[in-house]
Symmetry: C2
Subunit: 338 residues, 2 copies
């Protein structure tokens, strides 16, 4: 299937998705360096062929080696993949930028919008690394890291404005278990990933209230409709949202018992306050933060995002999940078209 023989890639970030994607690149025939922050983790990965901290039980292939030295990791790399927490990207990349090879394709695996600036991850990369738009790509789709690492079949999108780079990245990450499709719409792919956490919160709330597959499917569909409306206002192609990085990622996230946002929403649906849900799950779900920035973005662009608006009211203004459902169902009747 693939012909990525010998392509040199670096993956910056050793979380579960970064590690799983490094495995994909190596399985596709590439020569991959995984760059860890802690020397101990890099050494452990090289010795045990396993990232026991983030992807326990998954054997990493021979084409993958780890280091803690970003300069060493990046030297000669054709593909530079970044997979760090969204809100730490700017700081991390400021340090790494000088070592990123000039002609390389820089790939974001991150999903989120930078707090304060409301910038997408690819925008932060372009700004901090001084990379031209054509050099920055995004990989996004229904790709729960654990399942990819277990080689369960899935598809994904490789988005880059430069068609040649998109095709090269497609070859570099196509394996028998991961089927990448190219797309030129970076904005749409990134926005799909950012809003899905908000919709997953809403789906979790509905589930916590005891509602089933109709309610979830309705929230997913109308959630995607509002994401597409917002995307269109920001220059994305609405069709992208019906694809793997929109619908695909949303369906996987809203179905998975592994999704933190869905679990957090479930607590709220069962009657917990946000503070109680934080205590119960020991963390703030990503959607709790991003519903505000997504809502800001929508208001500035005059786009109606009723589900996001109601999720924000639950998370930040004390609305109950039951009142959210009543509010969403009681709106004026509409045509389906966006």
């Amino acid at each position: 299937v693939t012909d990525a023989g010998g392509v040199r890639s670096t993956v910056l970030g050793t979380g579960s998705w970064g590690t799983a994607f490094a495995k994909v690149l190596a399985d596709a025939g590439g020569v991959v360096t995984l760059c860890a922050r802690r020397p101990e983790l890099a050494a452990a990965i090289n010795e045990r062929r396993e990232n026991a901290d983030y992807l326990p039980g998954v054997r990493l292939p021979a084409g993958l080696t780890a280091t803690h030295d970003p300069g060493e990791a990046l030297a000669g790399s054709e593909i530079v993949v970044i997979a760090v927490p969204s809100q730490t990207l700017r700081t991390n990349l400021t340090e790494w930028a000088p070592a990123i090879p000039a002609g390389s394709t820089v790939v974001s695996l991150m999903k989120g919008v930078e707090l304060g600036t409301a910038k997408r991850m690819s925008e932060v990369i372009r700004e901090v690394a001084g990379a031209a738009e054509a050099r920055v790509a995004v990989v996004s789709g229904p790709n729960l890291a654990r399942e990819i690492a277990e080689e369960q079949p899935a598809a994904t999108v490789v988005a880059c404005p430069d068609a040649d780079r998109a095709a090269a990245l497609q070859r570099a990450c196509g394996t028998w278990y991961l089927r990448p499709y190219t797309n030129s719409d970076v904005v749409g792919c990134e926005l799909g990933g950012a809003v899905k956490n908000v919709i997953a919160l809403a789906c979790g709330m509905a589930e916590g209230m005891g509602f089933g597959d109709n309610t979830r499917a309705s929230l997913i569909t109308r959630g995607l409709a509002e994401t597409a409306r917002l995307g269109a206002a920001l220059g994305a192609d609405p069709v992208t949202f019906a694809g793997l990085a929109g619908l695909g990622d949303l369906v996987a996230t809203c179905s998975s018992p592994l999704s933190r946002n869905r679990t957090f929403g479930e607590r709220l649906g069962r009657g917990a306050t946000v503070a109680e849900a934080i205590q119960l799950t020991r963390q703030v779900a990503e959607g709790v933060k991003s519903c505000r920035s997504v809502l800001d973005l929508a208001r500035r662009n005059g786009v109606d995002v009723p589900i996001t608006e109601h999720v924000a009211m639950v998370c930040h203004e004390g609305m109950t999940a039951a009142d959210m459902v009543r509010g969403l169902m009681g709106r004026g009747m509409k045509a389906e078209a966006r």
Copy 2:
């Protein structure tokens, strides 16, 4: 929310979805007659306020009465809803057609393509009842009957080329728990419902093979992409497939443990032959039949439908589910755009 006071409707067919939709029309304020084939069932519904055969445990509202006399049921009806098995529509409707009031809106709740003619349900209705295109509407969405009957919140699409009739039907079936959106694309809404059973079979096979949320979300997304390609060739609006009657219905069906197609596929995924799966589930899932007619339709229109093609090979040419997955993952690399 609604203002359907006193609208007279008839529902022909007392299966679970026909009965649940009759309840919706009555809950929205309408005067509803449910027409049963067997006098005993009609009498039981009137006496016990329950359709114990198809929707046990659900209390039917006062605005709903049952009869077994189609002439009595149809007299003075503004909205005529048909909810019988797809392959029996032509025979049943031939008998009912003379009693259908001339100006009424005829609504199809059915999902399927007529064997032999490859006609959609609304086409059969127009042909047999002699109804103008503008009078025929379709209701379709993520609407598992049991959950609607339990008043779990859901959205749906009311499609009719005549905007006034669509809006009237929207008012007639809008309740606090069912939120209808209008759409003019009858072809798209019907096709979404017909192909979803084929995709649900594929999702069931993947599940039976032990694959999780990524694989299912990938199949749903690419299944929707091939449905939209086929729809576009048949004159549907591709955007419809990203909506409630496309994506919404597909996600609900592919997630629900109640879906017969998904369950049937699961057996195949675990290694059963089609004959064994029929024996185990005591029926032939709808998708087993319709994958052939959908594939025929696609070939005649020169549309590539790889998932449907592979499902048909499993169902009718002895391919294994494992070979289906290998076949789908091993195709040439592509761009995502349709």
